[in-house]
C-alpha cells in the first residue's frame, strides 16, 4: 500500500512537470488507453476520463513507452498490477473460453438447422 502511495506521489509530480512530447507517442497512449477501464469511474475508459486516476495512468503509459516497452508488455504490466478487470479485451483462458466460443457454436448450430430445413435440390 505504501509503495502505491509513493508511486502515486511520483506520478503527481510527473503530472506537474510533464510536457507532452511528440505527437506519435501520444497517439500510442491514446490507442492503449482506449482499451483500459478507468477503475474509479462508472464504465469509462482511461482515454475518455478526466479523473486523476486516468490522467496518471496516461502518464504511466507514456513512461512505459519511453522505456521502450511494447504494447503487449504494457498490458501485461497493468494486468499484473490491477488485475484482468482493467483491460477491455479479455484474453482467452479457461475462464473466458466460453465467452469467445459460445456465439460461434450458436452460429454453427443455427447454420445446421437451416441446412436441414432447406432442400438443396
Amino acid at each position: 500500500m505504501n509503495k502505491m502511495k509513493i508511486l502515486l506521489k511520483l506520478i503527481i509530480i510527473f503530472l506537474i512537470f510533464q510536457n507532452f512530447s511528440s505527437a506519435e507517442t501520444s497517439q500510442k497512449v491514446d490507442k492503449i488507453s482506449k482499451n483500459l477501464r478507468c477503475l474509479i469511474c462508472q464504465g469509462q475508459s482511461v482515454y475518455d476520463s478526466q479523473s486523476d486516476f486516468a490522467l496518471s495512468m496516461k502518464i504511466l503509459i507514456q513512461n512505459k513507452i519511453d522505456e521502450g516497452k511494447n504494447d503487449e508488455q504494457i498490458y501485461d504490466f497493468l494486468k499484473n498490477k490491477y488485475g484482468e478487470w482493467i483491460v477491455y479485451d479479455p484474453e482467452i483462458n479457461k475462464n473466458t473460453i466460453l465467452l469467445w466460443v459460445l456465439p460461434l457454436i450458436l452460429f454453427v448450430f443455427g447454420g445446421i438447422l437451416i441446412y436441414r430445413k432447406v432442400s438443396i435440390k
Binding site: S45, D48, L55, E84, N95, T96, P103
Partner: protein, 623 residues
Amino acid sequence: MVNQLGNYSLYIALLISIFIIIKTSLSFRNSSNVLSGNIFSLISVQSLMVIISFLTLIYAFVTSDFSNETVYNNSHTAKPLFYKISGTWGNHEGSLLLWLLVLTIFLFLFVIDSKNLPQKYRILTLFFQEIIIFGFLLFILFTSNPFANIFPIPSEGTGLNPILQDPALAIHPPILYLGYVGTSIIFSSALGAIISGSINKSWASHIKRWVLISWVFLSIGILLGSIWAYYELGWGGFWFWDPVENVSLMPWLCLTALLHTVFTLEKRGTFQSWAIILSITTFSLSMSGTFLVRSGILNSIHTFANDPSRGVFILCFLFVLIFISIFIYFFYQKTITVDSTKTFLMSKETAVLINNLFMMFFLSVVLIGTVYPIFLEVINNEKISIGPPFYHKLIIPFLIPFLFFMAIGPNIKWIKDKMGKINLKDIFIFIIPIVISYIFVNKFGVSYLLSLPLFIFSLFLFFVTIRDFFGKNINISQKISHFGFSLLILSILLNGVLAKEHSSNMRVGDEIKFLDKIIQFQNIEVIKKQNYQTLIGKFNIVDENNSLSLKPEIRIYDQPQTITSEADISSTIFADNFLVFNIIKNDGFYNVRYQIKPFMIWIWISVLLISLGGILSLKKKNV
C-alpha cells in the same frame, strides 16, 4: 392533495386490472368468446387513470411540490421549466410510471386496432397484457411509488443530475420506451395467437404493424441516446459497447429478425413457431434490459438511478412471464399447422433465414458479452471487463458476409428462384467497390486487416441498392432501410479510419499546431445562467483558407454540485469539428481535446434512413 389523486388513480387502475383479468379468464372458460363493450370501457377508464396519475406527477414536478419524495429527490426550484417536466421521467419512479402509461395506451390502441380479428384471440391478448400491467402496477405501488410523501416538507429539492439536463436526453427515454413497451403487445399477442390457434397470414399482417412501430421507435430511441453520448459525455465516441447501450441494442436485433420473419409469415405462411419464439424473446430482452439497468448490477456510465431490492422484483416477474410463455408454447404448439414443405435453397425464404441466423449471432455476442462478466464474478469471483475490442473481433468478420447477403437476398424471388446467369452488369457492380477500396487504401493506408473487405462489401451493398432503386416493382421501404444500413457501415468505417485528434494542456493565449491547422485558445468568458455558471472558452481553428471559431463550455451546476463539459461541434457533410475542454488542477491550464470526425453526420442520417424505411412500410397496405 393533488399528489394523492395520482396515488388513488393508480389503485383504481390496479383494481380494474384485477377485474379484467378475472373477467377475461371467466369468459374464456365459459367459451363465451365475446369481448363485451363493458371491458372496452374498463380499459378506457384504466388508461385514463394512468394518464391522470402521470399528469399529476408532471404537475408536482412543475410546481416543485417537495412533499412528494420523487420530486424532492430529483428536482429543484431553480431548474428551467423544460427540465422540470422532463425530470418526471428522468428518475426511477417516474420512468416506471411512463412504462405503465405506454403499456395501457398501447393496449387501448390494440383493442381498437384489432376489431376485425377473432374474438378469442383478442380476449387472450387482452388477458396477457393485463397481467403485465398488473405486475407493473404492483411494482410501482409497492416498491417504487412516485407519490410517496415526505413530512416535514423540505423547502428545496436536491436537483436533477446535470448531464441529464439536455434536450436530446429529455425525449430519449419516452421514445425508447415506446419501442420497449411495444414489444409487450407483440408478446401478449403471440401468446394469444398460439392458444387460439390463429397464427396465420392475417395475424402476421396485423402484428406486423406493431413490430414496425416498436422497431422504428427503438431505432430512433437508440439514435437519440447515441447522439447525446456523442456531444454530452465528451468522448467524441457515439457507441461504446457499454452495457446499457447493449441492453437497448439486444431487443432491436431481435425485433429486426422478427420483422423479417413476420414479413415471410405474411407472404408465405411459414415459420410460425419461429415467429412466436422471437416475439417471446424480444419482450424478455426488453424486460431484462429494464431489470439490468434498474438493478444497478451493471457498471455503466448511463446508470443514473438504481436500487438492488427493486431488481429482485423485476427479476421474479420476468421469470414468471418467461416460465408462463415457455409452458404455453410447448403446451399449445400443436395448434400450429405443421409446415412440412421444405424451403428451396434459392428462395427469399432462405434469405430471411440467413438474415435471422446472423441477427441471432449478433444478439448472442452482445448478450453473452454483457452478462458474462456478471456470471463470472458470481461463480469465480473474478472480475473481467468486456469492451469494444471483444465486440469488434466477433462482429466484424461476420458483418462482411452479412452485407453480401443483404445485397442479394431481397432480389431473390419467393418460393423458388433460378440461379440466374451472372451478367456483365453484376460483375461491374462488384468491381467498382474493389477499385474504389484499392485506391482508398493506397491513399490513406489502413492498419486493420478486415477494414478492406468490410469496405468492399458495404460499398457493394451501397451500389446494389442504388441500382435497385431504378428497378421495376421495387419494395421502396426495404430498399431505403438496406441502403441506410450500407451507409451506416460505410460512415462508421470512414469515421473510424480517418478520424484525427489532438489532446493537450493549454492556457489562455496558447497556440498549438496540429496537422495543417493552428488551434488558438483566445479567451474565457464566465456567464451566470439560471441554475449553473458557465465558462465559455473561445477557440479558433485556423488553416490556410479559413478560420473556424468554436466555443465549448464548462458548466458548474449548483444543485447538485457537478461540473460538466459541453463540447462545441461544427458539422458539415464532410466532417465534424469537435472541441471539448476540461479543468485540470494545474493553475490556468485546461485540457483541450480537438477531434476531426469525418462523415459523422452521415451516421445519424443513415439511422434515420433505416427508420424511414420502417415508417414507409407502415403506411403501405399489404403490397
